[in-house]
C-alpha cells in the first residue's frame, strides 16, 4: 500500500534536503513554527543588488517530511524570483510544487516554508509589523 503523500520526490527531499543551512550574508531571515506539530523552519534569503530579485535561499529547521520537503523544494524554486512574485505565491502553488495531494489536515505543514519566506520578505520591506506575523518566532 503506497502512501500517496509520500512519493519518492518528497522522501528524497526530506532525506537529502537541498540548500540546507544558514547564510552569513543573508539579506533577511525569518523563523516560523507550527507549535502543535513542532515543525520549525528558518529561511535565509539573499537578494541581488537590485534589492528585489532572490539570489539564494537556504533553509534549516526540523519537523515532518511534508514541511521539510516543502522547504527544500521551495528554497530552489525561489531563486530568481522577485519579492513581488514571492508575495503572489499561494497554497495551490505549493501543492503543485510538491506534486502530490496534501490531505486537509496536513496543509499547514506544507505551506509553512512559504509563509515563513513571505513573512520574512514583508518584514524586510517593513510592510509587516513583526508582531503581526502568522508565523511566530
Amino acid at each position: 500500500m503506497g502512501s500517496d503523500m509520500y512519493r519518492q520526490q518528497i522522501l528524497d527531499h526530506y532525506k537529502n534536503p537541498r540548500n540546507y543551512g544558514e547564510l552569513d550574508d543573508a539579506t533577511f531571515s525569518h523563523v516560523g513554527e507550527n507549535p502543535s506539530c513542532g515543525d520549525t523552519i528558518r529561511m535565509d534569503v539573499r537578494l541581488e543588488d537590485d534589492d528585489e530579485t532572490i539570489e539564494y535561499v537556504a533553509f534549516s529547521g526540523d519537523g515532518c517530511a511534508i514541511s521539510q520537503a516543502s522547504a527544500s523544494m521551495l528554497s530552489s524554486k525561489l531563486q530568481g524570483l522577485t519579492l513581488d512574485e514571492l508575495a503572489e505565491l499561494d497554497r495551490d502553488d505549493v501543492v503543485d510544487m510538491l506534486g502530490v495531494d496534501i490531505s486537509p489536515m496536513r496543509i499547514k505543514c506544507a505551506v509553512l516554508a512559504e509563509k515563513v519566506a513571505q513573512d520574512g520578505a514583508k518584514i524586510y520591506r517593513e510592510d509587516l509589523d513583526i508582531d503581526a506575523t502568522t508565523t511566530e518566532e
Binding site: M1, S3, S36, G38, C64, A65, I102, R106
Partner: protein, 426 residues
C-alpha cells in the same frame, strides 16, 4: 489466539453495537487528498480523543427528538414534563455511576471536561484566590486544567506550582508533599494521563490537599470512561469528565462537586433557568445543580450521557478496565520489541489504556498519515500537553488508545503499519 480467553469481553458482540466500526476508509483517488483509494477496514485507535457511539445512545437522542422534545424545568405541558423528568433523572444516573451519594445535587452537566474546569476556576478560583495563595498542578496536566488554572493564577496573583513527573512517568510524591503547603487552596490533578497513561494516586493527593485545607479537583476525562471511579472513596472535592470519551455524544460532560462546596459557589453563567426570584435589583438562585446550568441545557446530550453510562454498566466497568489493560500491555510489549521505538510513561502493566511513542526518524504526523492510509486512526501531535512534551524533549508523539471494542488483531495492524512507515522512510 492462545491468550484470547483471558480477555473478559465478548468483543464481537460489542462491535455490533457500533455501526461505524464496520466502515471502510481510504477514499476516492480522484478526489484531492483522499489517498490512493484502497478501501481498508477502519482500525480505530483514537479513543482517548473521542470514543465511538453505540446504537443505543444514538437511539436515545433520536427518541428524544422524535417523541418528547421540549424545554425543561419550564412547561407544565406533557412533553416538557417528560423531557424534564428524563433530563433530571439523567443527573441521578450519572451521579450514581461515579459514586456520588448526593445524587443530582452533586452533578452539574457541562459541555465537557474543559467547561467543568472553567466553572470551578471562575465560580471559585477568581472569587477566592489571591497573591498569598497557591494552586498545585502536575507537569502532566492536560491544557484543559493547566491553561485554566494558569490564567486564574495570572488574574488573581496566586502562584501555580507543578508536581514533578519522574523519568518513569509517575508523579514524584515527595515533591507533591513539599509543594502542597499551607498556602495551597487548590490541587488540580489528572487521574489518568492522556499522554503518559500514568494512573495517578488521586486518593493520596486528596489526603495531601485536605491536610492543608485545600480542595482537590480530579480531571477524570481518561478514567471515568474505562474504570470504576468512586468520588467518595477517593474523597474528591470536584471531578470532571466528558461524555464523548465514554460512548456518549459530544457537547455534554459532567462536573461532580461535594454538595456543601457547590452550595457556597457563585453561579458560573447567568441568565434564565437557574434563578428562583428575580427583581430589577437582584436575583436568587435555583437549587443544585440547576444553579450552575443557566440557559437551555443540552437536554438530549444529558439523556444520552445517562444512556451511555447504562451501556457501560451493563457491560461492567471492571471488565472494560481489564480488557483495556490486557490490550495495552500487549501493544506495549509488541512496540517494545523495536529498538527504534521510544515509548513514554510507565510500564505496560501499570498504565491506562493508551501508548504514546515515537518511531525514530519519522515525525508523528508522517507516521499518522501513513497509518491513516491503512485505515488506522491514531493521534499525532502534542495531545494538549505541550509543556510535558517540552519536558520530554520531543515536539510531538504518536498515541494509540484503546477501548472496549478494540482487539489484539487491531494492535497487530498498528505494528504492521508502523513497520510500513519504517520501510518507507528507511
Amino acid at each position: 489466539m492462545e491468550t484470547q480467553e483471558s480477555y473478559p469481553l465478548d468483543v464481537e458482540s460489542i462491535r455490533a453495537d457500533f455501526p461505524v466500526l464496520e466502515r471502510k476508509v481510504g477514499g476516492d483517488p480522484t478526489v484531492a487528498g483522499e489517498g490512493d483509494g484502497d478501501d481498508v477496514p477502519l482500525v480505530y485507535l483514537d479513543n482517548a480523543a473521542t470514543s465511538q457511539t453505540p446504537k443505543r445512545v444514538v437511539e436515545a437522542i433520536v427518541d428524544y427528538y422524535y417523541e418528547y422534545n421540549a424545554n425543561v424545568h419550564r412547561g407544565i405541558h406533557h412533553l416538557s414534563q417528560e423531557a424534564s423528568v428524563a433530563y433530571e433523572e439523567a443527573h441521578d444516573r450519572v451521579a450514581d455511576f461515579v459514586g456520588a451519594s448526593g445524587g443530582r445535587e452533586e452533578v452539574v452537566f457541562t459541555n465537557n471536561t474543559t467547561e467543568a474546569e472553567n466553572l470551578v476556576a471562575r465560580s471559585w478560583g477568581l472569587n477566592e484566590l489571591g497573591p498569598e495563595d497557591s494552586i498545585v498542578l502536575t507537569e502532566m496536566e492536560h491544557h484543559a486544567s493547566l491553561v485554566t488554572w494558569q490564567q486564574v493564577g495570572k488574574k488573581t496573583g496566586a502562584e501555580v506550582r507543578y508536581i514533578r513527573t519522574e523519568e518513569d512517568g509517575t508523579l514524584d510524591m515527595d515533591h507533591a508533599a513539599d509543594l502542597i503547603d499551607e498556602t495551597t487552596e487548590m490541587v488540580s490533578v489528572v487521574h489518568v494521563s492522556n499522554t503518559l497513561g500514568t494512573v495517578n494516586p488521586v486518593a493520596e493527593l486528596a489526603d495531601l490537599a485536605h491536610e492543608q485545607d485545600a480542595y482537590i479537583f480530579v480531571d477524570a476525562a481518561q478514567s471515568v470512561p474505562n474504570r470504576s471511579v468512586d468520588v467518595e472513596a477517593m474523597d474528591a472535592d470536584f471531578l470532571a469528565f466528558s461524555g464523548h470519551k465514554m460512548c456518549g455524544p459530544t457537547g455534554i460532560g459532567a462536573l461532580y462537586g461535594k454538595r456543601a462546596i457547590l452550595e457556597e459557589l457563585e453561579p458560573f453563567n447567568y441568565g434564565g433557568g437557574h434563578v428562583r426570584k428575580v427583581t430589577y435589583e437582584d436575583a436568587t438562585w435555583e437549587d443544585l445543580p440547576w444553579k450552575f446550568e443557566a440557559g437551555t441545557p443540552n437536554i438530549s446530550g444529558g439523556i444520552a450521557l445517562a444512556e451511555a453510562v447504562d451501556y457501560l454498566e451493563d457491560i461492567g466497568m471492571d471488565r472494560i478496565q481489564r480488557h483495556e489493560e490486557l490490550l495495552t500491555e500487549y501493544a506495549y510489549d509488541r512496540l517494545s520489541e523495536f529498538d527504534d521505538i521510544e515509548i513514554y510513561g510507565p510500564p505496560g502493566d501499570q498504565r491506562g489504556g493508551l501508548v504514546s511513542f515515537n518511531l525514530d526518524g519519522v515525525h508523528s504526523h508522517d507516521l499518522s498519515s501513513i497509518l491513516s492510509d491503512q485505515g488506522i486512526a491514531i493521534r499525532a501531535g502534542d495531545h494538549c500537553t505541550q509543556p510535558l512534551h517540552d519536558k520530554l524533549g520531543i515536539p510531538a508523539s504518536t498515541r494509540a488508545s484503546f477501548y472496549l471494542y478494540n482487539t489484539r488483531e487491531e494492535v497487530d495492524a498498528l505494528v504492521e503499519g508502523v513497520d510500513e512507515a519504517r520501510e518507507l522512510f528507511a
